[in-house]
């Protein structure tokens, strides 16, 4: 029991639970803005689970300043590569969210409705 009660394991469980909750909102809600909110929650969960892969116990952030022994950084720092990936992923996530909201605004001006059941142009 106690070997599962670590920082990285609980953070990874939280990340996957957030992804499942976001997917639930993305699939079952009828409102268009609620779908975009579900996508934003899914994005946050994905970033948390990637960051929790890079954490190593009893180590510190990969930034050199006066309190760090600069000749021994390989034994002091966590892995900086997933942090750089997530830093890019957050910015791209905001861009995708803004694009989805722009489409929501155009669709609302076309049909005057936010309900997804009223968009039936491709059915016949």
């Amino acid at each position: 029991m106690t070997q599962y009660l670590t920082l990285e394991f609980t953070a990874m469980v939280t990340g996957f639970a957030l992804m499942i909750i976001g997917l639930w909102g993305l699939l079952t809600r009828k409102n268009l803005i609620k779908i975009v909110i579900g996508f934003a929650i899914f994005d946050t969960g994905l970033n948390i689970s990637i960051i929790s892969m890079s954490y190593l116990k009893n180590r510190t952030a990969p930034i050199i300043d006066k309190s760090i022994d600069a000749s021994n950084t390989i034994n002091l720092f966590v892995d900086p590569i997933p942090q750089a990936l997530v830093l890019t992923s957050i910015v791209i996530g905001v861009g995708v969210t803004a694009l989805m909201l722009a489409y929501v605004l155009r669709m609302f001006r076309e049909k005057k409705s936010l309900d997804i059941n009223s968009y039936t142009d491709l059915k016949w």
Binding site: L7, I33, I51, A61, L87, V91
Partner: protein, 81 residues
């Protein structure tokens, strides 16, 4: 031990707020709950030793996302009137 208590509390708060954000009827409450999820996710990144990601999430994920959502809601309300 202090980091463990803080991390467990913030993970519980994040899950409760995510369920509120999906399950509630009102759109404004869902958007504010998404902003609070970004806030506590940023503190969780800081506990996982990534202060640069925490800074980006604090300014973009918690600030800019809320502003974009409310801008679109304002446009929709003006079109309705």
């Amino acid at each position: 031990m202090m980091n463990m208590i803080l991390a467990l509390s913030f993970e519980l708060i994040i899950l409760v707020l995510a369920i509120i954000a999906i399950h509630n009827k009102s759109l404004k409450i869902a958007i504010i709950a998404t902003g609070v999820i970004g806030l506590f996710a940023s503190v969780l990144y800081l506990l996982l030793a990534a202060p640069d990601v925490a800074m980006t999430e604090a300014s973009i994920g918690s600030g800019l996302t809320t502003i974009i959502f409310f801008y679109v809601l304002n446009k929709i309300r003006k079109t309705n009137d």
